[in-house]
């Protein structure tokens, strides 16, 4: 029962990621695409933790920690370039 609810939750999060990716395709401005990338990053951190639960390995959580730190640096670099060119 609990496994089923966890799986449904992961699929709903996946649908959210796809909606955010549609915004990345449509775009219009670069800032829109950066916002969509930001949202996809957060959702994929949640997905990584779900995969760690599903495979039953704690070591996968380290990937999520690294991801949360590094992707922040990438988005800030994009924003700095938009603002005044690093």
């Amino acid at each position: 029962m609990a496994d089923l609810i966890y799986n449904i939750a992961a699929i709903i999060a996946l649908i959210g990621m796809m909606l955010s990716f549609v915004r990345l395709i449509i775009g219009h401005t670069i800032a829109d695409r950066a916002v969509a990338l930001d949202g996809m990053t957060i959702i994929s951190i949640s997905l990584i933790v779900f995969i760690a639960y599903y495979s039953n390995r704690i070591i996968y959580l380290d990937v999520a920690i690294v991801y949360g730190l590094i992707s922040f640096v990438g988005i800030v670099a994009i924003a700095r370039y938009l603002e005044r060119g690093i």
Binding site: L14, R33, S44, Y60, V63, Y67, G74, A77
Partner: protein
């Protein structure tokens, strides 16, 4: 369950790759390339390779984006000087 996630993420990856080729604006192409490495990291994790996934997250998503943006800035600068 795992196969559903792999199929959806793979489709998004292929679409992002087409988008990165197709877009005219270079910064948008860099963002699409960032999406590719973001999802590649999750897929490596699904294929039970956490160390490769960690390296992909650090280098592919963080460092490559910054290096691309730095290069873009250098190119634009040279463009203005001419």
């Amino acid at each position: 369950m795992i196969s559903i996630i792999i199929i959806v993420l793979g489709i998004i990856m292929i679409m992002a790759a087409f988008l990165a080729i197709h877009l005219k604006n270079l910064l948008s192409a860099i963002i699409s390339a960032g999406v590719i490495s973001l999802l590649a990291s999750v897929i490596y994790l699904l294929l039970a390779a956490p160390d490769v996934a960690m390296t992909e997250a650090a280098i592919g998503s963080g460092l490559t984006t910054i290096i691309f943006i730095f290069t873009l800035k250098k190119i634009k600068k040279g463009d203005l000087d001419d």
